[in-house]
C-alpha cells in the first residue's frame, strides 16, 4: 500500500511536469497562432477583432505566471480551450468524439496481439527448436517488417475489394446511427476486423519474440528444474512456474503500449479512413491548431501515466518481491 501511494505521488509529480512543459513549450516558440493563422486575412481584420480572437484563444498579455495558474486551473476543470480548426468546438469535445474509436481499435488489437503473441512465445520456448519455434518467429518478423501501409492496403485490396468480405472504410456503415442494437454492434465489429487484424499482424511478432526469449531464460532457472523433479504436470510447470515468471517484463511493455494506444494509429486511420486521435493529431498540427495539439498531447501523457500506474498495481499482485513490507 505504501508502495502504491509512493508511486501515485511520483505520477502526480510527473503529470504536473507534463502540464508545465505543455504550457511553456508552445509559448517559447516565436510568433503566435493567431497572427500565423490569420496572416492571409489579417489585412481584412480590424485590430480589435484580432485582439478579441487572441483573448478567446487564451493568448492574452497577462504575465506568464498568471497565465500558467489559469491554465492549470482550466486543465483540472477539463477545459483545454477551443479548437482553432474546428472552431468553435471545445478541444475536450473534439477529443471526446474520437477517443472512443481509438480506444476500441487500439485496445482490441493490442489485447489480441499481447495475448496471442505471449501465448505463442510461451509455447515456442517450451518446445524450443520444434515446428512452432522454428517457423513462427521468422514468419512473424517477416510480416512485421513490411511497411505497414503496404500491408494494410494489400489486406484492404484482398479482403475488401477482391473478395469483398469486409467493408472498405469507416467505423460503421453510412446510414446507421450509433445505438446499442445488435445490428449496429455487428456492423462496428465488421468494420473493426481489417484495421485490427493488420495492427495485430505487424505487432504480434515482437510480443512473441520477447516472450519466447524471456521464457527460454526462465526455463533455465533452478526452480524449473526443481518443479520438473517434483513430478509436476508439464502444463503446470509451463504456466505456473515458467510463464508466470517470464511474463513480468511483458506486463511492463504492455503497460507502455496501453498508454500509447490513446495516441491513435495514424497509418491505420489513414488507410481505412477510420476515425481516431492519430488522424486528428495530424490535421491539428497541419492546421496549426495549438489548443487541440496540446490537448491531445496532454491526453496521451495522462494515459501513459495512468497505464503505468495500472501496471504498478498489477505488478504488485504478480511479483511479491516488489511489495515492500
Amino acid at each position: 500500500m505504501v508502495f502504491l501511494l509512493r508511486r501515485l505521488g511520483f505520477y502526480v509529480i510527473a503529470f504536473w511536469a507534463c502540464i508545465t512543459l505543455n504550457f511553456f513549450l508552445p509559448r517559447l516558440m516565436p510568433g503566435d497562432p493567431v497572427s500565423r493563422m490569420f496572416s492571409q486575412v489579417q489585412s481584412q481584420m480590424r485590430p480589435d477583432q484580432v485582439d478579441a480572437l487572441r483573448r478567446l484563444f487564451g493568448l492574452d498579455d497577462r504575465p506568464l505566471w498568471e497565465q500558467y495558474i489559469a491554465y492549470i486551473g482550466k486543465i483540472f476543470r477539463g477545459d483545454m480551450g477551443i479548437s482553432l480548426s474546428r472552431f468553435p468546438s471545445p478541444v475536450s469535445e473534439v477529443i471526446g468524439s474520437q477517443i472512443g474509436w481509438t480506444l476500441l481499435l487500439g485496445g482490441t488489437s493490442l489485447i489480441i496481439a499481447v495475448i496471442l503473441g505471449n501465448f505463442l512465445g510461451i509455447l515456442a520456448a517450451w518446445r524450443r527448436g520444434k515446428f512452432l519455434d522454428s517457423v513462427f518467429p521468422p514468419l512473424l518478423i517477416f510480416v512485421g517488417s513490411f511497411p505497414y501501409f503496404w500491408l494494410a492496403m494489400a489486406a484492404l485490396y484482398l479482403f475488401g475489394i477482391t473478395l469483398g468480405w469486409l467493408p472498405l472504410s469507416h467505423a460503421f456503415s453510412t446510414g446507421l446511427s450509433p445505438s446499442f442494437s445488435l445490428k449496429y454492434i455487428n456492423d462496428v465489429a465488421a468494420h473493426l476486423i481489417l484495421p485490427a487484424l493488420t495492427i495485430v499482424l505487424v505487432s504480434i511478432g515482437g510480443w512473441m519474440l520477447g516472450m519466447r526469449n524471456t521464457m527460454i531464460a526462465t526455463t533455465a532457472e533452478d526452480y524449473i528444474t526443481m518443479a520438473r523433479a517434483k513430478g509436476l504436470r508439464p502444463a503446470r510447470i509451463m504456466f505456473q512456474y515458467a510463464a508466470r515468471n517470464a511474463m513480468l517484463p511483458s506486463v511492463t511493455s504492455f503497460g507502455m503500449s496501453l498508454g500509447f494506444v490513446v495516441g491513435g494509429a495514424l497509418l491505420t486511420e489513414t488507410v481505412f479512413a477510420y476515425p481516431g486521435i492519430g488522424y486528428q493529431l495530424l490535421t491539428s498540427v497541419q492546421a496549426l491548431d495549438y489548443p487541440l495539439t496540446q490537448g491531445i498531447f496532454l491526453t496521451i501523457t495522462a494515459a501513459v501515466l495512468a497505464a503505468n500506474f495500472l501496471v504498478d498495481i498489477i505488478y504488485v499482485r504478480l511479483d511479491p518481491r516488489v511489495r515492500v513490507s
Partner: protein
Amino acid sequence: METLTEQDRANIGRTAAAPVLSVKNLQVQYAAESGNVTAVDDVSFDIGAGEVFGLAGESGCGKSTIANAVMRLLQTPAKITGGSIELAGRNLLDLGEEELRRTRWRDVAMVFQSAMNSLNPVMTIGDQIVDVFTTHERMPKKAARERAAELLKLVDISPDRLKSYPHQLSGGMRQRAVIAIALALKPSLLIMDEPTTALDVVVQQEIMHQIKELQQRLGFSILFITHDISLMVELSHRMAVMYAGKLVEVAPSKDMLENPLHPYTNALMGAFPPLTGPRVELTGLPDAPPNMAHPPTGCRFHPRCPLAIDECRTVAPPLLPKTVNHDAACLLVPGYVLPRERSRP
C-alpha cells in the same frame, strides 16, 4: 564433529540385500560440436536402505551429472548413453514420460545446490509444498495445507511461513523449506547435490545436523554429493571419490578417511585441514582437472599423479576390490584377490 554410533559402524560398508538404488555401468555424454564428451564413464554403485552414500570430487568431475541422471533431469545436450539406473527394482531408463513423472518425488526426491534459486519466487512456500500433494496424491487443498504445515514443523519452520514468499526467508530457512518439500512424499531415496554450498558455515552445520536427524528418524537413503570431504565423512556411511567421470575409490567413510588407497583420494584428504589435532602442512594438487573433451589415456589421473609409472599412461585401471569393502582404481595399489578368482585355475 559428530562420531558415528555403534549402529552406524555396524552398517558401514554393508550393502543391503536389495539396494534402494543400483547404478550399473552408467555412461552420460554431452554432445558438443567437436564431438561427444563423456562426462560420466562406466560408473556403478549401490545404495542400501537407510544408507547415506557420499560422492565426492572436484568441480566438473561428473558428480552432479550423476545426480541429475538418477532424477532423469538431464536435458540436451546431455544424454544417458549406457548402463542402467535401478530404483526399487525398476530401471528408470525404461520409464516413459508419464511413469517417470509419477516416480519423481514419490520414490526419489532431490535437494538442489542453490537454495536461493530452487524455489519459485512468485509462489508462496505453502503453495509449493501443496502442489506436490495435489499432483501426486490428488489430495484436496485443505488437507494438503495441513500436511504442508506439518512438514514445515518437521524442519523447525513455523507453519505461519506457509504464506511467505521465498524472498522473505533467510537462505538457511529456504534450504530447510526445500528439504521439507523433498520429504513430502516420504521418498526412499533423497539426492542432495551440495545442499549447503551456498550457506555460511554455522547454518551449514545446523542443516547437516537436521538432515542427519531426519535421516535417522525416517530411515530414507541419501545420495550425498559435495566437494567438502569433512562434511561428507561426518554424514555418510560409505563414500565414493570421483575423478574425471570415473569412480576411483569406494569405501566406508571412516576407512576412506583413515586409509585412502588411491593417490587422488590421498591428495584430496591432504587438501583439508583437520578440525582437531596438531597443525599439519596442507598439500594440494598441481594443475587443473583434465579437459573432458580429450581425457588422458590410461589412468585419467596420471598427468597429476605424483606416483605415476609408465604403465599408468596406457593402462586404464578398473575399479577393483583392494581390501574388504574397499575398492580402488589404481595400478599401484596391490590388489585384493577375490575368493572366486582364487579358485580359478
